[in-house]
Amino acid sequence: MNKRVDLAACADPIERAVHAMSDTDWYRLRQAARILAWKVPSMEGEALLFEALERTLSGRRQWNREAVDFVGHLVGVMRSVAYHESKRCGRTVGLTSSIDLIAPDDPENALAAEEKIRRLRAHFHERDDTRALLVLDAMELGCDGPTIRAQLGLSQSELETVIRRVRRTALRTFPS
């Protein structure tokens, strides 16, 4: 298949998806970008979001429209970009160097996120917020919502309350 045709073909669905997104969707994307950018301390959340879009537009990341909506796709691409940028061993070239803020062959990138999490925990420790700490623990294990709720005996609204509290603290403490 010809790449040029691909490009021409994919722009319209994306455009349609962009038009279809609600204000809250945009805000959701922005907030997700801000948190995911923790992994790459050099990168602002918005830069991460635009990088996800660039990759989608260039076809480097294909949007599987059948499986996920555009917001979910962009969050997934941002997650992947943040992960790879934080683990990258090479150096970016020349003028595109704003990403490699910390020597990429050292663990600083990953540690930047760890440091933020450490401070986040300290915040909840100080306030003796056991529930938030337990949720953080569960998140570190990669648990999904239902599992976390089942393990911690929380209702959906209780879990959401805790997550909101954690996110609010996180975003206030580490604005990106």
Partner: protein, 977 residues
């Protein structure tokens, strides 16, 4: 392993936190943060649509036939596929890369027919009012005013839709980061490249700009070898008004430089290279760029970040508090350059180099190069002036240099697992004392490791404070580095061959070169520079010599000599005389521990001495001279000459700065030479001084002092003082090696032999012999039994003597010269006279005595050989006298010869040993004279015999209890005395 498996827990948590919330929750979040969801959405949507439109346009254009002459038609697919067809008036060739700040394309300037790089700055959602866009425009325009070979040329600045773009010089090359990553660069190459960077940044500063994002990936090295400073996106103006006009070619419509620009309070830059001021968000001055460039330079030189920490927060804290990490290997760059980098990293901007121009000048002012260039024409004072410029900020280095590079070095060498490995290797020898010895060895090593790290820290801090010069610091670090190498070799030998070198393990660690020498700034000699072409090879050879020394200390003399000789050969091939001299000296040091012919050894040392003198290597020459005098003194008839040359060695030592370890060596060897020349009192004084010097150098309880105490004890005439010295010697051996180590037991044997009271000496020996037998130490048990037998024989304790000699005989090889003497003693102490045994023992001992005489016919004989020969003659005479039919004439001659020999070594031989033998000889000679048919029983002969008896008796009567049997027994002409 899947990617998910490799994800860290922090990754998972961040991902969870980023997961979608309900709309209500998001709205609450926005409300709590005071953010406008609709506004945010509008800006983002607009930018997204703009990008989508650009992509669609690119896709459509890509399908059109290429325009004639436009290189855009040749754009490759892949990453370039999303590049817009044109930005401003520039057709895009391909995408070069993208980052958080924007995307960079290669483009074509159709007007001026040249290739350019276009950077399109990303819009920001936060830039609701467009201020950020304005700022970027102004900053890019500011860059365009700068024309300098080391700054990338900005051709144009403009806008394309909502985006700001900058068209600049297209540079084919690699970033400095890539250049550094490609291969190991010398400090000279690095300094030269960074000087270009400093020049470029200085030009920016002259234009009133601060770069604010100086880092290796923002500097590109063109294929023409010229460096250009890049990444204009972060460049900001200094907080002052700029009114210069723009160069032609820059769109006047966006010329807003007349508006004062201030970015105070906004944190921009790259955290790893950001200055303290950037982290604090205060106004940035050119000094901030000096700081960032110094971080990059430090990292390039030492391959480690100066503020490296295990977390981002700690990195930031290290920068804020100026906690500079000390490089593990300072030798990667000269100290003047280290000082310059440290000055650039000063916490207080006022303490950094005053300008980037000054920093650049300092980078170019390599004092060593100046040194070399002017050495032929200028005096030392002039050199100091010339070199001074480069280090003028040494005293301005950060106040809190961590100086922990030495700790990291030692941590890499020494940890509990290494100690365990050494213990396992030593214990594998199966020696009964191995466990205790291993613990003591590890304790000594741990102490050395701690002391080395402390010395390294001290050197670093004193240098950072500006307490001493670059040259002294270099010498100090080189001194410590040689000691680190010695430690490393010692650890390797112990780990790999601990079982083989177990008996010498204690000595090996004790022989680690003293660290105090490296703190003695007055005696540290400056190492001379090596031709850079062979510097690496020379350094490798020096490392091998360190190993040769360690092998020698481990008792592996043959391997040590072979290693040193191999280095000599290679150094000769390299035509590097200093290393040849050092290798010859190392060979000689190793040879001192084995019976190498002394003339050959003196020759090796002579060659080392000549080369060292020719090369002006004062310390090496002094050591060669000191050791050569010692070897010469042991050559027949040469002790007087060696004695006369001692002042020469002392003068050479002074010239070398009187290093304490060589001073101790000179004093010790001076004692040996004086003793060899018969000057016992002079020797005693020299040994006492050597002990004091060693105590100053190593401390009172160091293993090295034990040998000095032994030497001193042997020369001390006061019995109590000798006992005290030997007790101290034994205590040191016990502390370092354990009570059951052969060296400790040997020291106890020495102390017993030098115990004046024969009864006490016999009791001590009896006890020791039992210990040696219990340990299965055949050699020590044999020597002990022999000495005990002799003492008991002299005391008239025939039965005890017989038992001891029987034990000694059983442990002495039949081929040994000593065996004939032992067996002869057994025969003369036999309960019954056995003519056949007498004849056999006589023949055997006579043959050995003749062989020894023949071997030393043409040279002066060492005192201990004379003493042993006198002993043989005594026992031979006793065998002859014990044989009924033997003429006494031969016995008389033998005894007269023995007395002559003993007399000849009066000044050298230990008095206790000599007096005992003398008394025995006199007593037997008296018997022989009375029986000698050639000496008619004249009054004269009788008088001499009586005199000899009286003299012998006078000696025995000094310890009446010990010699009770001897004193109560009348001498019999027919019995063996």
């Amino acid at each position: 392993m899947s990617m998910d498996d490799r994800r860290s827990s922090s990754d998972a948590l961040v991902d969870c936190l980023a997961d979608a919330l309900t709309d209500e929750a998001l709205e609450a979040e926005a409300a709590a943060a005071g953010e406008d969801i609709a506004g945010t959405a509008a800006v983002l949507r607009a930018h997204f649509l703009e990008r989508v439109a650009a992509a669609r346009s690119a896709a459509g254009r890509a399908q059109e036939p290429p325009r004639e002459g436009a290189q855009t038609a040749k754009r490759p697919a892949g990453d370039d596929a999303d590049a817009p067809p044109v930005i401003g008036r520039y057709p895009i060739l391909r995408r070069l890369g993208a980052g958080g700040m924007g995307v960079v394309y290669a483009a074509y300037d159709e007007v001026l027919d040249r290739k350019v790089a276009i950077k399109v700055l990303r819009p920001s959602v936060a830039d609701v009012d467009g201020r950020r866009r304005e700022r970027l425009l102004r900053e890019a325009q500011a860059m365009a005013r700068v024309t300098h070979p080391n700054v990338v040329t900005v051709h144009d600045v403009g806008t394309a839709g909502a985006q700001v773009f900058v068209a600049m010089e297209f540079v084919a090359g690699v970033t400095v980061q890539e250049w550094l990553d490609a291969e190991k660069r010398s400090w000279r190459e690095i300094a030269a490249v960074f000087r270009q960077a400093a020049d470029g940044l200085a030009a920016l500063h002259d234009a009133g700009l601060v770069h604010r994002d100086v880092k290796p990936s923002n500097m590109i090295l063109g294929e023409d070898g010229r460096l250009r400073v890049l990444d204009l996106g972060l460049v900001g103006t200094e907080p002052r008004e700029i009114n210069e006009t723009l160069p032609s070619g820059v769109s006047s419509s966006v010329n807003r430089l007349d508006v004062p620009l201030t970015i105070t309070g906004e944190r921009v830059g790259t955290p790893a290279y950001m200055s303290r001021e950037q982290f604090l968000g205060v106004e940035l001055t050119p000094s901030s760029d000096i700081f960032s460039l110094s971080i990059a330079l430090y990292e390039a030189l030492y391959d480690v970040h100066p503020f490296m920490a295990e977390s981002y927060g700690k990195l930031q804290a290290n920068i804020l508090y100026g906690r500079v990490r000390e490089p593990a290997d300072l030798s990667m760059a000269p100290s003047w350059l280290y000082a310059l980098v440290l000055s650039g990293l000063a916490v207080d901007p006022r303490k950094r180099p005053p300008s980037m121009h000054a920093f650049s000048a300092a980078l170019a002012a390599d004092p060593q190069r100046t040194h070399r260039r002017w050495i032929g024409t200028l005096g030392i004072a002039a050199l100091a002036t010339l070199g001074g410029g480069a280090i003028s900020w040494t005293q301005l280095a950060p106040s809190e240099v961590a100086c922990d590079g030495g700790d990291a070095t030692m941590q890499a060498l020494w940890d509990p697992s290494r100690a365990a490995a050494i213990k396992a290797a030593i214990v594998a020898s199966g020696r009964p004392y191995a466990g205790a010895l291993a613990d003591r060895v590890n304790e000594t090593l741990a102490g050395y490791v701690a002391s080395w790290a402390a010395a390294r820290r001290r050197a670093c801090r004193e240098y950072a404070r500006g307490d001493h010069s670059d040259a002294l610091y270099d010498a100090r670090i080189a001194c410590l580095d040689r000691r680190r190498q010695a430690l490393e070799e010692t650890l390797t030998i112990l780990t790999e061959t601990g079982a083989e070198v177990v008996d010498n393990a204690g000595q090996l660690v004790a022989k680690l070169p003293p660290l105090a020498t490296c703190d003695d700034l007055t005696t540290l000699g400056q190492r001379r520079p090596t031709d850079p072409k062979i510097a690496g090879a020379v350094a490798a050879l020096e490392g091998r010599l360190v190993r040769a020394d360690a092998l020698a200390h481990a008792g592996q003399a043959a391997q040590a000599i072979a290693a040193a000789r191999a280095v000599t050969a290679e150094a000769q091939r390299l035509e590097h005389p200093p290393t040849v001299a050092a290798a010859l000296l190392a060979e000689a040091r190793a040879s001192l521990n084995r019976p190498l012919p002394r003339r050959e050894l003196a020759d090796v040392l002579g060659r080392a001495l000549s080369l060292a003198l020719a090369e002006g290597l004062d310390a090496l020459a002094a050591e060669a001279m000191i050791r050569r005098l010692y070897v010469r003194a042991l050559l027949p008839g040469r002790s007087e000459g060696a004695l006369e040359d001692l002042p020469l060695a002392a003068a050479m030592l002074e010239r070398a700065g009187d290093p304490p370890e060589l001073r101790a060596l000179l004093l010790n060897n001076s004692g040996a030479i004086r003793l060899s020349a018969g000057d016992r009192e002079g020797a005693r004084e020299a040994f006492a001084a050597a002990l004091a010097a060693n105590e100053r150098l190593f401390g009172a309880d160091h293993l090295e002092n034990a040998a000095s105490l032994a030497n001193l004890g042997m020369l001390t005439t006061d019995d109590r003082e000798r006992e005290a010295l030997h007790a101290r010697m034994i205590a040191i051996y016990e502390a370092h090696l354990g009570p059951e180590h052969p060296q400790t037991l040997d020291s106890r044997l020495l102390a017993a032999l030098y115990t004046a009271d024969p009864a006490a000496a016999a009791a001590a020996l009896d006890d020791l012999c039992a210990t040696f037998r219990a340990h299965g130490d055949r050699e020590l048990a044999r020597d002990c039994a022999f000495e005990l037998g002799r003492l008991e024989d002299l005391r008239g304790a025939t039965l005890s003597a017989r038992e001891a000699f029987a034990a000694a005989s059983a442990a002495t090889p039949a081929t040994s010269a000593r065996r004939a003497l032992v067996d002869a003693y057994l025969v003369v102490n036999a309960a019954e006279r056995d003519p056949e045994a007498l004849a056999a023992a006589t023949a055997a001992l006579r043959a050995v005595a003749a062989a020894v005489d023949a071997e030393h016919a043409n040279e002066a004989i060492d005192w201990w050989i004379r003493l042993e020969q006198a002993n043989r003659h005594l026992v031979l005479a006793r065998l002859l006298l014990a044989a009924d039919d033997a003429p006494a004439t031969e016995a008389t001659a033998l005894l007269e010869r023995a007395l002559t020999d003993i007399d000849a070594i009066t000044l050298e031989a230990p008095p206790i040993e000599r007096e005992r033998l003398l008394a025995a000889c006199r007593e037997v000679l008296a018997v022989a004279l009375r029986r000698d048919p050639q000496h008619k029983r004249t009054g004269e002969v009788e008088a001499r015999a009586a005199s000899l008896n009286a003299a012998a008796r006078a000696y025995f009567e000094r310890w009446p209890d010990a010699y009770r049997r001897r004193l109560t027994r009348a001498p019999s002409p027919r019995r063996s005395p």
